[in-house]
Amino acid sequence: MAVEAFLQALQNFRDLDLLLFMFVGSIIGIVFGLIPAIGSLTAMALIIPFTFMMPPMNAIPLLLALTSGAITAGSITSILLNIPGTGVNVATLIDGFPMNQKGQAGRALGAALVSSGMGGVFSVFLAFAIIPLVLPMVMALRSADMVFVILLGITFIGVLGTGSTLKGLISGGIGLLISFIGYQASTGASRFTFGANYLYDGIPLLPVILGIFGLPEMITLAAKGGAIAKAGANVKGVRDIFEGGKDVFRHFFLWMRSTILGYIIGIVPGVGASVAQFVAYGQARQTSRHPQKFGTGTVEGVIAPESANNAVQGGALLTMLALGIPGSPDTAILLGALLLMNVIPGPQMMTAQLDLSLTLLLIVIGANIIAASVCLILAPNLAKVAYIPGRILVPLVIAIIFIGAYVHRESLNDVVVTIAFGIVGLAMRNFGFSRPSLLLGLILGTLFEHYLFLALAASGPLFFVRPISLVLIVISIAAIFQGQIRGLFGNRFRRQAKTYETKG
């Protein structure tokens, strides 16, 4: 039956309208992904009204391709301007932007685009392979297990960026504290809102991202003059991009690991790419032979998160189709659109309507290939942003930042938050506190608390006494003490090696 469904899906996929809308969707996604701050979410919200009037098989490819395009292109602004194009490209800037400053923008772009394109495509093949396993896997997880999936992401809080671990932990802690602002659904209490309705939903993510990453970089650039890339960098244009692409194959196992990780985290409903990027980055650093280079502009730090965040899409799509649970705000919008087009998510999407699910996965492959190719063609020219003089770049980017902050919800308060976090970000930048750690705390704090409350309410204080939870706890502990564990074994090996040497 699976083969039949696949052939049917291929048949569907050959439809000219579908391909056209897939292409248009990818291009729109790229355009929105390329404008810093106006990511796929805004694009989706703008496009949705039009899709109501379209036949489902035009609208669905459009929306799916749009997300792929935006995530792929989102890495570009992370690298070029230190402003993540979408919320899932944050981990990319940790190493992507320093690479740009070193004059390696082309290489970083090449690596990011190739790894995200390949990640997106490979994840779909993974999805094809394990369709029968998706439902049992997802049904086995409970809120208790989710707590530890997220905890695994939080364990990397201290290792993001170049600063000391202590400063990373402090930043992450501040992020966690900020995440507690707002209405807490499990207790029904509004916390730290001071009666302000604006704070009821918590501090919105987008203005924080814009303020904390975008503004400080622009202010610093304005103050020091010149361009983003330090003078004297050796630029080779297209060859740099190729170099970046080749880097992905040089670190093929890292890419593979990150893609699989991203895919698995994508399957877990409700967690999504925002967690996957950090976990992928964290594991890349922890398993690297030179972890001290992470944060200073090493290409592995770009490959890992970029392959993971696109790989999430394949995983998340399947879960969404099978269970109707969106893994990210984008998929939530997509889900709404699917419902209206009479595509009702449910287990039948893995059985009777498998051909439809496979068609959607094929669209993701197509869109990823289109998005990566178009971006690669644009990349040599885009990389030149690094050499635009600050006096031209800064006003332009700052204007876009504020417009992005405002347009998202048409709220002037969001602009105020952007400015406030701009000041915080500048201070953190100058005193060496890790800004990605703060963001990680902010993103994961909310999720962590959500599942912790549910787990406690449903299963009591001993909620973690479950096989899956216990395994995840062990993995988290291993991730934290990874250095020590390796040191222990490393010493033993060295000692053994020494004995051999002395004997020899």
């Binding site: 703008l46 409970r142 209405y183 029904g188 309705n197 009821y200 549910l454």
Partner: protein
Amino acid sequence: MRTRIRTILIACLGLVVTGVLLAGCAAPAPTPTPAPAPKPAPTTAPAPATTPKPPAPAPPATPKPTPPPAPAPVSAAEFYRNNPATIYVGYGAGGGADYATRTFASFWKEVTGGTMVAKNMEGASGMALANWMYKTAKPDGLTIGLLYSGASLTGPVLFAKSGVEFDLQKFIYIGSFYQDMPGLAISTKLPYTSLDELRKVKGLKIGTVALRDINALAAALAIEFLGLQDARIVAGYSGTPEMFLAVGRGEIDAVSYTAATILRERGAGTGYFKPIWVVMAEQRSPAFPDAPTLGELVKISPSDAPLLELLSAMASYPVIFAPPGVPQDRVEFLRATFDKMFSNETFVQQMKKNFPVWTKPVSGVNETKNIERVLKVSKVDIDRGNALIDKYSR
């Protein structure tokens, strides 16, 4: 030189793009009117209520300025034909309410000959829109809103959520799309079929999304009146998909939620639930005539009856409302349009796609009566309801 010209060109292009974006996405909120009626400043304005209000339906301090001077004496029909109206939905793009709003807006032209734009104003689970409609929206009849009544209007007022800056009684209700009531459904994983069997089970876990709303109250009342031993409420799921999945995974044993939504989930073929087991209302629902009401299963004493009354009053459905002070002829026109809309077969078909379990729409006049019923519920009963929720969620 060439590079400089190119850079300047790029900069110009960037500015044009941002300008277009700004114009497209951030058009000023209120829609234009022919004769801009200046808003009279509140005369003796007491400070707006910022502190959390007591649960009683006490109106907030600042009332909306009374009707603005009506523009030229044109008929309401003509007015709406010539002026674009805006409908705001208090939730994000892509959800059921969003779709309902957009469908309403798209049929507006067919019924009135004018235009209507749908916009989202999300925040504070709908309260941001309610507050904005009360305090800021122009009462010219061209700005209307859509919210789930129980979640965003009556719920926050009755259960004393902080941040309520609107007066329920002063809004003008145009109509609501359907009526629904909470139902309790248990997992197919549980073998029980009768109330007596359920009463013997200890520690039944009933899921709800929010803690202070009609569904949580329904769960608390079910536990209390049916005498379920050690049963408790597990609140805080991000939405129905997550909560229903939790039933499928065996994390919780039952849910208390809008009966239509539960039925829709059963229709999706997940097989998580048995048919709705009890409807938490005074009367059976026409949509599921087989499910008994709470009153049919156990005898409710007269002293407990107001709690059920509170439940019925708070039933949640999408309500279209206008800010206080809209001229009466326009209110009547809006209400008539709403009723006309529901006699349009294509419109109803579109709506049924989104709300597959369809009861019937409620007219603006009846919706106003519903709201008045909510406001009549005594503080004692609200406190009792709250105490019951607290008792079973700890």
